[in-house]
């Protein structure tokens, strides 16, 4: 069990000092996600201006991984172009599902690279993805992206 791999400095730092936390106005889409196994929750809002994520705001209860992940998400997508944000969402999701086999691109994922180790812990992947799933869903609700087949995840 290489704990350091999981609890990287970057992650602990985001956990202790989360960026962008709080629910703000205005917003076009809001999503509430629950991790049924542990009861962790996030409420996340997006405010879209043109093709930009003008604000991403959230409140959450959860473990270090889920809280740090939401904070990193904020840093990565707040103020970003929606297409770029979606690309990062896709990249991060793939990394999390890679079971430790993924190669993270520091260029695009920045601090989120620190989550590479999490993908080796299947029971924690859901924690890391909770905020990102909420982001995806909030974009759909904001009608900033089309509804996926079978509804939002």
């Amino acid at each position: 069990m290489d704990l350091d791999e999981l609890y990287q400095e970057v992650i602990l730092d985001h956990y202790k000092r989360p960026r962008g936390v709080g629910l703000r106005e205005p917003f076009e889409g809001e999503s509430h996600q629950v991790n049924p196994t542990c009861g962790d929750e996030i409420t996340l809002r997006v405010h879209v201006e043109g093709d930009t994520v003008a604000d991403l705001s959230y409140e959450n209860v959860g473990c270090s991984i889920s809280k740090a992940s939401a904070s990193v998400l904020y840093e990565l997508v707040n103020g970003a172009n929606i297409d770029d944000a979606l690309a990062r969402l896709k990249e991060f999701t793939a990394l999390m599902n890679s079971r430790g086999q993924g190669e993270a691109d520091e260029e695009t994922l920045e601090d989120a690279v620190a989550f590479t180790g999490v993908s080796k812990y299947p029971m924690r992947v859901k924690c890391a993805l909770l905020g990102w799933m909420a982001f995806k869903d909030a974009l759909v609700r904001a009608e900033a992206v089309p509804t996926p087949e079978g509804g939002a995840e």
């Binding site: 299947p122 029971m123 924690r124």
Partner: protein
């Protein structure tokens, strides 16, 4: 269709410790695989290894054992899904047996009747019809009967010809605009008939009915691909396919599982719970309340691997040979009447028969004294018995480990039966 390679039955038999068993001083000839198959060491070893090394409850904690157990359980789901050609593991629900799988469907209808906003496909009213066949195992008959009793819908059925085939002459009349669901047996456990599915499935689709299969006797014996079959749901069971007892499978289209109300409720199937109100997880979790059969899933995965290594085309070819051999030898016995198809076409290696003047109980008893295990009784298919005017039959059934030698032993034991009851 002839398979390129055959099964190496001798080396298969070496994997099944029970086949060394003596009954009195005779070696066991196990001809009761349609009731339950035997398990190879690969299955028992996998379960033992799991229990002694990784046992934990699943999906509920972050410790290493729980993570390994969850991986093993979900891995089994993925293996079963790919074995039957499902597009996603999420379409596979683990139950305790085929019977629960079918009840899960019938209770979706029953619960939809008392739930607000239920999917109209699951809402049955008087005037609606449900269709089964006359050759069902009770597992695919009684739940539908009960459902009809409780909703006022009408149960209808497709009959059986003298040869033991489905009588499709009046299919268009039996399956009609009033039909909401058609559920029929894929391979019949008393008759051995392998039912052609496409005509019934097409007709069900044409009238907008859901259509499902009881494939309890199919998945273990022939290649099965749910996409090819075009059905909406399918039930089968671990213990008939070299796997353990305590695990069954319901496959259903993702979209259908989403539309179905939950059945058993409790832990692990919820999204959130307060004292006042519960919301539910997505399928398959939605249908798996409580601690699932974890070690059994591990065993089932090993069984599927075993069958995949043999190749289901080879399994089918082997059983076709067995069926031909059984039919030929049995037809030659004085006083034997086969109940079910008498040619090894569209049938499996499960053969029911009567021996004139001797009750199946007595046939089975005397065969047992020769080490030959067959099943006697109504085989949970009383309506089929009634159709053929018998109360019970003797049934011999083969599987991957069955030899023609064992069939010969059964046939000579029938001579002994005739002597005792002469």
């Amino acid at each position: 269709m002839e398979a390129a390679s055959k099964l190496d039955v001798e080396s298969i038999r070496a994997d099944f410790p029970i086949l060394q068993r003596k009954i009195g001083d005779k070696t066991l000839a196990y001809l009761d695989s349609a009731a339950t198959s035997q398990r190879p060491v690969q299955v028992t070893d996998a379960m033992r290894q799991f229990t002694d090394y990784s046992n934990a409850n699943i999906s509920r904690s972050v410790h290493t054992l729980a993570s390994e157990a969850t991986d093993a359980y979900e891995g089994a789901r993925a293996k079963v899904a790919s074995f039957i050609g499902a597009i996603s593991p999420d379409e596979v629900v683990f139950t305790k047996n085929s019977t629960e799988s079918i009840n899960l469907i019938t209770y979706a209808f029953q619960n939809a009747a008392v739930e607000r906003g239920a999917d109209p496909r699951f809402v049955l009213k008087p005037g609606d019809e449900v269709v089964v066949t006359e050759m069902e195992h009770h597992a695919n008959l009684v739940p539908w009967q009960q459902l009809c009793l409780r909703t006022g819908a009408t149960l209808r059925w497709i009959g059986i010809t003298e040869e033991g085939r489905l009588d499709l002459d009046d299919l268009d009349e039996v399956v009609n605009e009033r039909t909401k669901v058609v559920s029929f047996v894929h391979v019949a456990n008393l008759l051995g008939t392998v039912n052609p599915t496409s005509q019934i499935v097409a007709r069900a689709k044409a009238v907008g009915a859901l259509v499902g299969l009881d494939s309890s006797q199919a998945v273990p014996h022939i290649p099965v691909d749910v996409a090819e079959l075009g059905v909406d749901f399918m039930a089968f069971t671990g213990h008939k396919m070299l796997g353990p007892t305590g695990i069954g499978i319901l496959w259903a289209k993702a979209e259908l599982l989403d539309a179905m109300p939950p059945f058993l409720t409790g832990g692990s199937m919820i999204e959130t719970v307060t004292m006042e109100r519960t919301t539910f997880a997505k399928a398959p979790a939605k249908f798996e309340a409580g601690t699932p059969p974890v070690a059994e899933a591990v065993g089932l995965a090993a069984a599927v691997e075993y069958l995949e290594a043999l190749g289901m085309e080879n399994v089918r070819a082997h059983e076709k040979e067995l069926a031909g051999y059984m039919l030929e030898k049995l037809e030659a016995v004085d006083g034997v009447t086969i109940i079910g198809p008498r040619v090894p076409i569209g049938r499996g290696a499960t053969v029911s028969f009567e021996l004139e003047g001797v009750h199946p109980h007595d046939v089975g008893q005397i065969l047992d004294s020769e080490g030959v295990a067959v099943r006697v009784g109504h085989h949970c298919a009383k309506p089929t018995c009634i159709r053929f005017g018998v109360t019970a039959t003797t049934r011999a059934s083969g599987y991957v480990y069955t030899t023609t030698d064992e069939i010969d032993r059964m046939v000579s034991a029938l001579d002994k039966v005739r002597k005792v009851f002469a």
